[in-house]
C-alpha cells in the first residue's frame, strides 16, 4: 500500500479534494437517509423515534402523492415539447439574415436572465391577472370574459411560465448550432432543387439532433426541480392541481414540519429523477454516440 502511494505521489495530492467532495455529497445524503427512518416532527423533537420504512409508506400513500408524480411528468414533458419544437422553429426563423437580426436574437434570449421568482410574479400580476392583467385587457378588447388563469387552468399556466423561461435556452443552443451548419452543403442541396421543407427535414433537423439531446437532458434536470414558479403563482393549488414532487416535499417539511416524511420524499424525488434521467438518456443518448 505504502509503496504504491510513494510511487504515485500525485494520487496522494488528489486525496484532499476527493475526500472533500465525498464528504460534501455523503454527509447530506447520509443525514437524509437517517432522518427518513425517524419519526421527527419539528414541533416535538423530544419524541423522535426509529420507525423503519414507515415514512416511505406514509409518503407513497399521501393523498397528493400520485397527483404530484403525474404533475411532475406532465410539467417536464410539456415544457420539453414546447421548448424543443418552439426553439427549433424560432431558431430556423431567425437564422435567415434580416435587418435587426442581432436585436431580435438578443430579445429572444433575454428572458433566460430573469430570475424565476421575478418571472413568475410578472406573469401572475402583470400578464395573467384576471382583473388588471394584460391578457384580461386583451380578452376584454374582443368582448370575451377574462380567464382566471391560475385558478381555472393552473397547470397550463405554470407550463406557460416555465416554457417562457426555458425557450430562450433552447434558442440559444439551436441558434449557435445552426451557425455551424455547412453552407456549402446547403447550397448543394439548393442546386439539386431541394425546397425549404426538404432542407429542413433532411439537413437542418439531423444537424440539430445532438443539440436537441443536450437541451432535453439539461432542461430535464432543472425542470424536475421546478419550485419557485409554483410557490409564487399557485402555491401548489388549487387543491393539489400544481403540486409537483419537490413542492410536496416542501409541504411536508415546512408546512407540516414532518422532517421524517420530507426526507423520505426527498429520497423518492432523487430516485424518480434518476429513473427519468435513465429513460431520457436511453431514448436520446443514442444520437450522442451514434456519430
Amino acid at each position: 500500500m505504502n509503496a504504491t502511494v510513494r510511487k504515485r505521489p500525485e494520487r496522494l495530492l488528489a486525496q484532499p479534494a476527493i475526500v472533500m467532495l465525498l464528504v460534501w455529497m455523503i454527509v447530506p445524503l447520509a443525514m437524509t437517509l437517517y432522518f427518513s427512518t425517524q419519526y421527527y416532527n419539528l414541533l416535538y423533537p423530544g419524541k423522535s423515534a426509529f420507525v423503519g420504512l414507515e415514512n416511505f409508506a406514509y409518503f407513497f400513500t399521501y393523498p397528493s402523492f400520485w397527483t404530484s408524480v403525474l404533475n411532475t411528468v406532465v410539467l417536464v414533458g410539456s415544457v420539453l415539447a414546447v421548448t424543443v419544437v418552439g426553439g427549433v422553429l424560432i431558431s430556423v426563423l431567425v437564422d435567415e439574415t434580416f435587418p435587426g437580426q442581432g436585436i431580435v436574437r438578443m430579445l429572444l434570449i433575454s428572458p433566460f436572465f430573469i430570475m424565476p421568482t421575478v418571472a413568475a410574479l410578472v406573469w401572475k400580476n402583470l400578464l395573467m391577472n384576471p382583473v388588471s392583467g394584460f391578457l384580461a385587457w386583451l380578452w376584454k378588447l374582443f368582448g370575451a370574459t377574462p380567464v382566471n388563469w391560475f385558478a381555472d387552468w393552473p397547470l397550463l399556466s405554470v407550463i406557460v411560465v416555465v416554457s417562457w423561461e426555458w425557450l430562450p435556452f433552447a434558442i440559444l443552443i439551436f441558434v449557435t448550432a445552426l451557425q455551424s451548419l455547412d453552407r456549402e452543403q446547403l447550397e448543394a442541396a439548393r442546386m439539386d432543387g431541394a425546397r425549404g421543407m426538404a432542407i429542413f427535414r433532411h439537413l437542418t433537423l439531423p444537424h440539430l439532433a445532438r443539440p436537441i439531446a443536450v437541451v432535453v437532458m439539461v432542461e430535464a434536470i432543472f425542470l424536475l426541480n421546478v419550485f419557485a414558479e409554483i410557490y409564487v403563482t399557485t402555491n401548489g393549488g388549487p387543491g393539489d392541481a400544481t403540486t409537483n414532487v419537490p413542492f410536496l416535499v416542501y409541504t411536508q417539511a415546512l408546512l407540516e414540519f414532518d422532517v421524517g416524511a420530507a426526507s423520505a420524499g426527498g429520497l423518492v424525488a432523487v430516485v424518480l429523477a434518476n429513473v427519468m434521467a435513465i429513460f431520457l438518456i436511453r431514448l436520446i443518448g443514442k444520437s450522442l454516440t451514434e456519430r
Partner: protein
C-alpha cells in the same frame, strides 16, 4: 514570560472593567433586539412607534424582521425548534404559545410589574397564553370572528341583520344582495388554503353545525354529517353568492374587497374593523354594521378566538431587554400612544378591559361592542357541542394540527375551485388524518407524547 503575564493581567482588568460597566450602567447598554413579527397593520404601527422606545432606552437597538404570516411562522418554527437563537422577541398566536410554552421553548413571564396591570388583560385571552399557571406570552391584540355587513345595502333591500344571525339567514341575505352586474357580491369568505386561513372559518362553521375535529379518543370526525353539511354549505354559498375566484382570497384579499364596497357581507376577524371603519382606508366607512359570527345548530364555538402575542424564546441571550420591550409594547401607555398618533379606533383591540371602558374608543370604534361580547362569550376550554379532548375553537392544541388542517384546507380549497367533490374529499381527508394521528402514537397504549388532559 513576564510579558505574557502582563498581558494577561491587562486582559483581566479589562474584563473586570467591562463587567463593572455593564452592571452599573443601564442593564442593557448596547443591545440589539431582533424582533420577528407579522406584517399586519397593528404590528406595522408598533414598528413605526418603536422609535420612541429606542429614544427612551438609549443603547437598545431594534432590528425588525417583518414578514407575511406563513413565512414568519416557518422561520420562527424552524428557529425555535432547533434552538437557533436568531430572535429575541417573536410574534406568535394562540396556537403556538401554549405548545411552545409546554416545551419550555419560551421564557415564562412571571412576576409582572404592578404597573403593567396584568389583571386588566381579558381573562379568556390570558388563559390562552398560560400553561401550568405560567404566562408564556403577552397579548398584543386579540380577535374574534364577527359578521360585517353593509347597512346601506340592507336598508335598500329592506332587510335587518339580527344581532346573532344563523348561517341560513346569512344565505338568505346573500341571495337577495348578490348583484355581480353592479360589482357587489353577496358574501365574501376566506377561501385560501391554510390552517390559519380557510380552516379558521371552516373550524367555526363545523363547530356551529355541531361537529368536531376529534372525539374523546382522538379519532378524527371529519367523515361525519356535521362536516359534510358545513363544508357543502360553505362551498355552495361561496360558489353561488361569492366573488369570482374565492379560493385565492384570504383575510387581506377579502378585507380589500369589502373596503372597496364589493361585498354585502363578510364573516372574518374583528381586527378588520379598524380598517373598514376608517374613512382613509375604506370606501364604505360609516356604512358598515357589525353582528356576532353566524351560528347554526349551536352557537358553541361559532366564533373563533385568536391572540397575536409577543414572547421571548428561551434561546435569546438578551431576555431581560426583550422582556422590557414586550411589556412596553403591550402596556396601557402604548395603547394610549397608538390612539393619540393614529386615532382611537386603531388601539390594539381585544386585550385589555380598560380599552373597552374607554368611552372615546367605544365611540370611535363601532365594532368594539360586538368584538368585546364575542371575546367574552367564547370558551376555548369547551369549544364544541360534543366533548373533545383538546382546547381551542378553530385550532386543536396539538402539534399535529398544522399538518392535519393544512391537508384538509388544501382539499377544500380545491373543491371550491371546482376540483373534486366535497363528500369524497372529506372521506379521503378522514383517512389521511387518521394515519397522521396513528403515526404520532395517539392510539397506542403507550403514547409517545403526553396527551392533553381531556376536558370534563
Amino acid at each position: 514570560m513576564t510579558d505574557r503575564r502582563k498581558r494577561n493581567r491587562r486582559l483581566v482588568a479589562l474584563l473586570a472593567g467591562a463587567t463593572l460597566a455593564a452592571s452599573t450602567g443601564t442593564a442593557w447598554a448596547d443591545t440589539t433586539l431582533t424582533i420577528g413579527t407579522v406584517n399586519n397593520a397593528d404590528m406595522v404601527r408598533m414598528q413605526a412607534l418603536s422609535g420612541d422606545y429606542e429614544k427612551s432606552h438609549p443603547g437598545v437597538h431594534l432590528n425588525w424582521v417583518v414578514l407575511e404570516e406563513n413565512t414568519l411562522r416557518q422561520r420562527l418554527t424552524t428557529d425555535i425548534a432547533t434552538h437557533g437563537g436568531q430572535f429575541d422577541v417573536i410574534t406568535i398566536g394562540a396556537y403556538e404559545a401554549p405548545l411552545w410554552g409546554a416545551q419550555r421553548w419560551l421564557k415564562p413571564l412571571d412576576h409582572l410589574p404592578a404597573d403593567y396591570e396584568a389583571d386588566d388583560l381579558l381573562k379568556n385571552v390570558r388563559e390562552q397564553l398560560t400553561v401550568d399557571g405560567h404566562l408564556y406570552a403577552v397579548p398584543f391584540y386579540a380577535e374574534a370572528s364577527i359578521t360585517y355587513y353593509r347597512t346601506d345595502l340592507f336598508a335598500r333591500a329592506n332587510l335587518t341583520m339580527p344581532d346573532q344571525p344563523t348561517w341560513d339567514q346569512i344565505r338568505g341575505f346573500a341571495q337577495k344582495l348578490h348583484d355581480p352586474a353592479h360589482g357587489v357580491y353577496g358574501i365574501c369568505l376566506r377561501g385560501k388554503a391554510g390552517w390559519g386561513e380557510n380552516m379558521a372559518l371552516l373550524g367555526t362553521m363545523v363547530n356551529s353545525w355541531g361537529g368536531r375535529w376529534f372525539d374523546e379518543y382522538w379519532k378524527p370526525q371529519i367523515d361525519t354529517p356535521p362536516w359534510h353539511q358545513a363544508v357543502n354549505f360553505y362551498v355552495d354559498l361561496l360558489k353561488n353568492y361569492g366573488p369570482p375566484g374565492p379560493s385565492d382570497n384570504g383575510f387581506n384579499e377579502n378585507l380589500a374587497l369589502f373596503a372597496a364596497g364589493r361585498c354585502a357581507m363578510w364573516v372574518d376577524a374583528s381586527v378588520g374593523g379598524g380598517t373598514v371603519a376608517n374613512p382613509k382606508e375604506s370606501q364604505v366607512a360609516g356604512r358598515v354594521g357589525f353582528a356576532r359570527s353566524p351560528h347554526q345548530v349551536t352557537d358553541k364555538g361559532s366564533s373563533w378566538l385568536w391572540v397575536w402575542s409577543l414572547a421571548i424564546p428561551s434561546s435569546s441571550r438578551q431576555a431581560d431587554a426583550a422582556r422590557d420591550f414586550i411589556l412596553w409594547a403591550t402596556s396601557r401607555p402604548y395603547a394610549k400612544k397608538v390612539a393619540e398618533r393614529y386615532g382611537p379606533e386603531s388601539t390594539p383591540p381585544g386585550t385589555r378591559e380598560s380599552t373597552y371602558a374607554d368611552p372615546d374608543y367605544l365611540v370611535a370604534a363601532p365594532f368594539a361592542k360586538v368584538t368585546y361580547a364575542s371575546l367574552k362569550a367564547v370558551d376555548p376550554a369547551h369549544p364544541t357541542l360534543l366533548p373533545v379532548p383538546y382546547k381551542g375553537i378553530q385550532i386543536v392544541s396539538i402539534p399535529e394540527f398544522q399538518a392535519v388542517a393544512t391537508l384538509v384546507g388544501r382539499e377544500i380549497a380545491g373543491a371550491l375551485a371546482g376540483r373534486g367533490k366535497v363528500d369524497t374529499l372529506l372521506h379521503v381527508a378522514q383517512g389521511a388524518v387518521d394515519r397522521t394521528m396513528k403515526r404520532a402514537g395517539y392510539y397506542d397504549n403507550k403514547p409517545v407524547i403526553q396527551k392533553q388532559e381531556a376536558t370534563p
